[in-house]
Amino acid sequence: MASTAVAVGGAPRPGRVRAFLLRLRSGDEIAHLITLIFASAIFLVTVLLVFELYRNSALAREKFGWQFFYSRTWDPVFEQFGALPFIFGTVVTSAVGLLMAVPLGVGAAIFLAEMAPARVSDALTFVIELLAAVPSVIYGLLAIFTLVPLLRTTVQPFLKRTLGFLPLFQGPAYGVGLLAAGLILAIMIVPFIVSISREVLLAVPVEQREAALALGATRWESTWKVVVPYARAGILGSIFLAMARALGETMAVTMVIGNDPKISSSLFAPGYSIAAVIANEFTEATGDLYVHALIELGLVLFILTIVLNGLARLLILATHRKGTAHP
């Protein structure tokens, strides 16, 4: 190649071009370029998203400043806007959802990957992956027609009788509210946790299990003390994906959360989430400040997701170190 460049007479250009073309022909360069473009496109979309949210919320940011994050009033008539009740509703419903979905999902994944016969595991996994594809509005309908009446007539009176001394389970039982939203989120995110955790558990090398068994561990001990810790990072990853879905879920939540921007200690009380209020009020929002406040809520949800994801990553790092220290 160098010789061709010299032959052309000191002009390096054609040679370089030819070298580039040669590399092109081998395909590596094209693949590199195209994948690079795809990767940067995703990055650009994210940057653009944040930029647009930032730009289009200027009026609200100027008027309310940091107060937007801790003000409890959301009044479109007198144009007073604060995000706190929505942040509260979003975090609480997601937390309730995760609290129920994580043990259920991880447990199911362990069964499917480690205990169940292959045929049962495959069949169940198919059903679970089907669940992940159900549109959220269907879950919302399910919640309205089945979950909410059940909560109002049976579950909430029962909780009141037994755990009513806790502020979490007090107040009138409407059926709709934070608890209903958390429950429906739990049902919606379980498939993510099960499906991904199962894959991760299956990817744990057989040698790990064999080594544990060879050392005299029982089947369960090998699963719980060796396989699950080995797959810990992946399982946590599935939980964080589920959390992201729960934070941003709009339709099913708004159908059952009660849509009342108040902060209450009871899970029976109605609440409101960020995604729900944007979906509810954006189309009929009149007045620039109102629209800008709604867009700023979008920015807040974005920040909330980033912060929680960051914390999640720190958690992974911390537990990972712990995992390696005590194998």
Partner: protein, 346 residues
């Protein structure tokens, strides 16, 4: 490598296909296109009108996106549509935000009714304005409150807590409801006010008419408000409301038209008027116009004439389509006034 080449080929094929479809999109050289956007409440009647009108005038196609009043106003402001549609008249500040003058044309009337679910009560309830305002402010909390029992003698109202339900999505329905409450209760006007969404003192929010109706149906001892059309079509029970003349009137298409008729004489030239709590014995008090918003000046002559002709048709022949779709038609006095206003479009 071969796989990669195959991918590129497929990608290329898809791209060229895309280009092909764009290029072969049918150009419509003769049919003039008019675009509108806005309120969802009148969408069924608007789509019927635009369809009927297209049958009469094959050379004119009117597209309407029901994206909500707020969206319609914004799109008209930025000039991406030829007309907007809103469930409420624009206020002065909103009109000032426009770079051009906007005319309001009422098209049909809508009404909002209180619907309820009280186990053991099958009679139709009567609501005084004070009772409705009190319930929605959280001041009246029991069904057997004096404000309710005195208006409903003979009805055995239970001593249960009232579960209040309102719309959670921004809507013209909420605007009409809160506009009415602002008129009958000074306290409401000062503390809550009127808008497409407000800061509700109490209650659960349901999304859309169906969300409110669903919550009311499911929750014992609840009250909510829905559009009259929705209540009629779904056979929901709804109460009568005492009007400004002191008569309890049940919402029907005729009592809604009567409300508009009773304010026709005092109607301002730009039609921006609230007709809630209208005078007149037959008038149902919680109703409103829904509007088309048309720029006063439309430079393009063909478009201008088409819009003017459509407005004329809508106010005359078009009105007969309203009642089969459960919209109340405009009273004659308002139609006459609007027909004169069409000439303001230049």
């Amino acid at each position: 490598m071969r796989k990669f080449l195959a991918c590129v080929t497929v990608l290329g094929a898809v791209l060229s296909l895309g280009v092909g479809t764009v290029a072969s999109a049918p150009p419509s050289p003769d049919a003039a296109l008019i675009n509108g956007a806005g309120a969802t409440f009148p969408y069924p009647i608007y789509s019927k009108w635009f369809d009927e009108y297209h049958k009469l005038h094959g050379d004119l196609q009117i597209n309407y996106q029901s994206i909500g009043s707020g969206g319609g106003i914004r799109q008209l402001q930025s000039g991406t549509v030829d007309f907007g549609a809103s469930d409420m008249p624009l206020n002065d500040q909103m009109l000032n935000d426009f770079k051009f003058k906007v005319l309001h044309f009422p098209t049909v009337l809508g009404a909002v009714v209180p619907t309820y679910n009280i186990p053991g009560v099958s009679q139709e309830l009567k609501f005084t304005p004070e009772a409705l305002a009190g319930i929605y402010q959280g001041k009246i909390t029991k069904w057997n409150d004096g404000a309710l029992t005195s208006a409903n003698p003979g009805v055995n109202l239970p001593g249960e807590d009232i579960v209040v339900v309102h719309r959670s999505d921004g809507s013209g329905t909420t605007f009409v409801w809160t506009d009415y409450l602002s008129k009958v209760s000074q306290d409401w006007a000062n503390k809550v006010g009127k808008n497409t969404s407000v800061n509700w003192p109490v209650g659960l929010g349901g999304k859309g008419n169906e969300g409110v109706a669903g919550l009311v149906k499911q929750t014992p001892n609840s009250i909510g408000y829905v559009e009259l059309i929705y209540a009629i079509q779904n056979k929901l029970p709804y109460g009568s409301v005492r009007n400004a003349a002191g008569v309890f009137v049940k919402a029907e298409l005729s009592s809604v038209t009567a409300a508009a008729g009773s304010v026709a004489k005092s109607m301002p030239a730009d039609f921006r008027v609230s007709i809630t709590n209208a005078p007149g014995k037959a008038a149902y008090p919680i109703c409103s116009f829904t509007y088309l918003l048309v720029p006063e000046s439309i430079p393009e002559a063909s478009k201008r004439d088409a819009i003017k002709e459509f407005l004329h048709w809508m106010l005359t022949d078009g009105q007969k389509d309203a009642e089969p779709l459960a919209y109340a038609r405009l009273p004659k006095e308002v139609v006459d006034k609007e027909l004169r206003a069409i000439s303001e479009i230049k």
